[in-house]
């Protein structure tokens, strides 16, 4: 199996590639359309700001390529948010794979924004290994996707939100599997098995 990591101005490409290396996965890091299309699976990482990142993806025409992919695609963190319809982060139109709005957390009581640290993941349904149930994953984000019909795991912070999603061949995680110790490896392995 050959996996392609989409190369763009995302901050966590190195960490994601090391995580795959630790799992013994054969992968390439590329922004070449042909190479991405012929990969068995595609990983769409993401750390950064939505509007700048979408502009970059548009310039490279990756915003059209990703939604058209037929093989399993995993979006991580900002990658997951860019797979939604629109983000409140600088009023950004995203790729629309998940017909959902990405919203800004409003701080409440002692709960600070960004949501940063380890929080538990409650599996709702679908592709994730059942062993993920109630395990802790590492999150860093200020925007979230509300619970919706695509939600495959829920985490609670200020409000319950989607910590993982799935639609057809598209999979997504709001947390960072590449930084989430054993729980993260479980999620990557779940994706490698779909």
């Amino acid at each position: 199996m050959k996996l392609a990591i989409i190369k763009y101005n995302a901050g966590n490409i190195q960490s994601v590639s090391f995580a795959l290396e630790r799992l013994g996965v054969d992968f390439t890091i590329t922004d070449n359309a042909e190479e991405i299309m012929k990969a068995d699976k595609v990983l769409f990482p993401g750390v950064g700001e939505a509007s700048t990142t979408m502009r970059y993806l548009r310039d490279k025409k990756l915003d059209q390529l990703v939604p058209a992919l037929k093989q399993p695609v995993l979006g991580i963190c900002l990658g997951m948010q860019l797979m939604c319809r629109h983000s409140e982060e600088n009023d950004t139109t995203c790729m629309g794979i998940f017909d959902e709005e990405v919203k800004l957390f409003v701080p409440k009581d002692d709960l600070k924004v960004p949501h940063m640290g380890w929080n538990n993941v409650v599996k709702a349904n679908g592709w994730l290994d059942p062993a993920i149930e109630n395990q802790y994953a590492y999150f860093v984000h200020s925007y979230y996707v509300p619970v919706n019909s695509y939600t495959s795991a829920v985490t609670e912070y200020i409000t319950p939100f989607s910590s993982a999603m799935h639609r057809d061949n598209f999979y997504a995680a709001q947390f960072h599997p590449e930084k989430s110790a054993k729980a993260g490896e479980l999620v990557l392995k779940s994706f490698l098995k779909v």
């Binding site: 901050g11 190195q14 960490s15 640290g117 380890w118």
Partner: protein, 252 residues
Amino acid sequence: MLTKRIIPCLDIKDGRTVKGINFVNIRDAGDPVELGATYAQQGADELVFLDISATNEQRKTFASLVKDIARHINIPFTVGGGISSVADVAPLLEAGADKVSINSAAVRNPNLIDELSKAFGAQCIVLAIDARKIDNTWTVHTHGGKNATDKKLFTWAKEGQERGAGEILFTSMDHDGTKAGFANDPLSKLHDLLQIPVIASGGAGTKEHFIDAFILGKADAALAASIFHFGEIKIPELKAFLNTKNITMRMN
């Protein structure tokens, strides 16, 4: 529920782990990659690697070390030491570090916080503050605690947040190395003053000290070095203990 975090800190000089006791004496405590991976496996929630190298030649070792660390550990980590520009930070994040901590350079040039936050996002900028009480005022020190400045802990922390720091790492020099507990009063004040997370540092000696830092000091995370390096407190035992005291811990 978001957990409290336990963070071992590794001081690095010329590619090796060291720990300054009261910022003066230094003892060797092993290979940073191996030590980091061991802590990750034991349940540490994050790691901090601080480069205390004196020369540029030694610093070059650190940059390649960061990549080696990222290759082997599967939890988030912060790197710091001698960072004074956007150009210093980019290669560290590209090598796989999650956050950078800045200290003396930010005191000298507070604009650095704005620049880094704008370039990389607030979530990866940790403002480290070393302070000691002088005439009843928490006074900020730089250069590993050697130089007193005219900055005060609380106003500097607040300014750091406003300029775009994502976290404050507060080390009480009065507590560091004493093993008599964290500086819970100023920690609690920082918590009430700020909207960003505060990491408690300096003074850890017993498991109970961590309870105090989280409950009395209201810290989001607690950092320690020598007690972990020399096995005086083992991370799995510490986390299990805190868990029984109703402090939310990641117990995967």
